[in-house]
Amino acid sequence: MTRPVLEMRGITKTFPGVKALCEVNLTVRAGEIHAICGENGAGKSTLMKVLSGVYPHGSYEGEIRFEGEPVAFKDIRASERHGIVIIHQELALIPYLSIAENIFLGNEQAKRGLIDWNDTLRSASRLLRRVGLREKPQTPVADIGVGKQQLVEIAKALSKEVKLLILDEPTAALNDEDSAKLLDLILELREQGIASIIISHKLNEIRRIADSVTILRDGRTVETLTVRQAPEDEPRLSEDRIIRGMVGRDLDQRFPDRTRYEGEDAGQVALSVRGWTVRHPVDHQRTVVDDVSLTVRRGEIVGIAGLMGAGRTELAMSVFGRSYGQYVAGTVEVGGREVVTRTVPAAIEAGLAYCTEDRKQYGLNLIDNINRNISLASLPGMRRRGVVDEHHERRVAERYRTTMNIKAPTVFEQVGRLSGGNQQKVVLSKWIHADPEVLILDEPTRGIDVGAKYEIYTVIDKLAAQGKAVLFISSELPELLGMCDRIYTMAEGRLTGEVSRAEATQEVLMRQMTQNRS
């Protein structure tokens, strides 16, 4: 076996009141792809922040050796000088600057304080070729998609003579095609001798590219497993084996058993959308949602599958108070009665709720507490003599904190400080308390860990069991297959199919999702 490029030994990091890392060990061998797995809050990001100098030397205990030498980074620049570059989950690019400017941001190709544009553009083109991105270096970053932006980040890392690349959830925001491209690039970089640490929730990706995987749980190293001996080998490690390490138990079931809704009105159509057509908000020539009709019954969970850009979120948001695009045609019926959902308050009034795919941007007031985030959509109903009854509000929040298992000391905890899974539970609580007939859930498990996912699934199941109609939008096919009674597929803004739970397989869905306009 090759020698280790990085050794972290006995890393312990404490925050006031919390031991985030406890005696963690991590060894990465030269030229390998090393995955780090663990549930949210297991300490993965903290460990990477210790490594990259975000938490400076002295604020943690333990030893870091890089290329055999002990190192003590006092900030990120120090770790970058050694060739350790971290690419964060939230991309750190400046949208209105060009690709080239972004690549050399903080590392400008300058002579005597003046930028050498020829040199900058030439080097940028070379780096873009290396990462396989066919864009002009002058293109503003805002004009390219998230997948390409990720490649720009990697080009930026390469410009710093990277020896160890750390990627935090690199494919979380990417569609399958972009993800595959990115993973290939990481494999290619390995050929060039660049080692990578990849943090990911997507176990199939880990199996595909990683050489070994270290599993963290509750701030401790559980184990380091070998995925494959040589790069060309087939993986020898099963996903179930990784999950077992992460959760400390066998997860025989990744989805709860569905509970039937037994009410008298079971099977009645709760939501019916007909001929829904929406144009792009800026480019009015473009039809983003094209003549979509669908129904959801009481107690039913109905999935919408589709690739990125299929128009799923756009459909949901425009039905929910026309929050997206330019409405062209279509009707919505809730409980058999036609409703006009021209504004969000009208949609809520009609009995709809929409949980956004992007909870930080569209779902939560991050600087406010759990209490007030949960009550926001149902404040008018919490009034007593014209004003909000704060005690009632707090009791409601406490109830959801307990029943939804939101991990926070009090309901006055700032939502911005919670982990992704707990934030998602707050968003769900908000909409459950608004007591809608129909819940539209847009990627409700994005970016959250296996254990929390199971909890969210249980909540969704419970909602259906109470007779709510659930429309479940997801990019993860196994999740749709595991939870839904029926699944619609969308491609290019149109419905391309509808399959029942019995008929649905990943292959069937994928075929319909990739159906192009003939």
């Binding site: 079931q253 108070g321 009550s375 704060e390 005690h391 006055f412 982990s419």
Partner: protein, 410 residues
Amino acid sequence: MTTTTTPPRDASAAPSGQRPSAGAVLLQALRGNMRQYGMLIALAFIIVLFQIWTDGTLLLPNNVSNLIQQNGYILILAMGMMIVIIAGHIDLSVGSVVAFVGAMSAVMMVKHDMPWVLALVLSLLIGAVAGAWQGYFIAYVGIPSFIVTLAGMLLFRGLTQIVLEGQSIAPFPEGFQNIAKGFIPEMGPYTQYHNPTLLLGLAAVVFLLLREWRDRRRQLAYGLDVVPTGIWVAKCTAITAAVVAFTLTLASFHGVPVVMLITGGLLIGLGYVMRNAVIGRHVYALGGNKAAAKLSGVKDKRVTFLVFVNMGVLAALAGCVYAARLNAGTPQAGLNFELEAIAASFIGGASMSGGVGTVMGAVIGGLVLGVLNNGMSLVGIGTDYQQVIKGLVLLAAVGFDVWNKRKAGK
């Protein structure tokens, strides 16, 4: 096969079911409102400092009265500005609106002999219209508030000069002047103190204690955590002592100034609305995350519009108070008032990005500036140095907050 799995607990989660200690509760409450408590402590410190420095002049009954009358209009503006800033906006036009409304009131009362009560009502309406004008462009047209109110600053200043034709107009009827200079009238038998003030003070104590008691009772009834009895009693005692001391100070002079009644009423009313009314919550939600608020059913445009109408009315009220104090409508009235109000808001806990702050904070921030002004004048510091010192205080207050937050974040 079904396994009922208990999800593993977060490493960071606190053990549930364990009651936090009294100290922890207190500390948490303090930390949550660090900026405001910090400023309250700073205000107390400044008062003590100048009380010593001026050999006791600062807290003499006539100076306390004076202090309130001097700062009334800034406090009124600061309360409105705080709400604007919480909503994620800014209003640069308030100084000019103060001048414009002052001028209009002067024209109505002095040139057209209008009864002062009617003139006051019309003045407030003019303020509402000015606020609606700006609110329309900000909320419905979508022009940034900085631009709209910068335009408003020029516009209303210009209109003031047109209305006044560059001249000051004076004098006002006595009733109108009393808004700024008057006291509530004395009633009843002769005591050493001003009787209605004593009654108001008593009412304030009863009201505050009743509220504390009711809150605590309801919290207990709902099974929520409460602070331990000892601390609660101490808090109530402190509130009572402060109100009594303040009441006796005022009652030994002319009593409660009218402007204090106005400011106090606004503080209670606006504070209540911001904390308890649905629209108040919607303002916080809009400032915190506009997109999320919209998707939760907040009528963002209407709320923004109303915030600016409210600011317009308050600016008009401040304009009347200021004109009444000067006893003239002048073209130069209200110069830089917007900056004072903005400074007071930020000292009192507002955030540049919106979503945080309280009406009480704005008043505390305004009082910090007011006591500094008054105290420094009393000890004979020149206005040049006063500006320097006020600038440094603003910087220090916000700097302390930023530092405190960063420390909490790590």
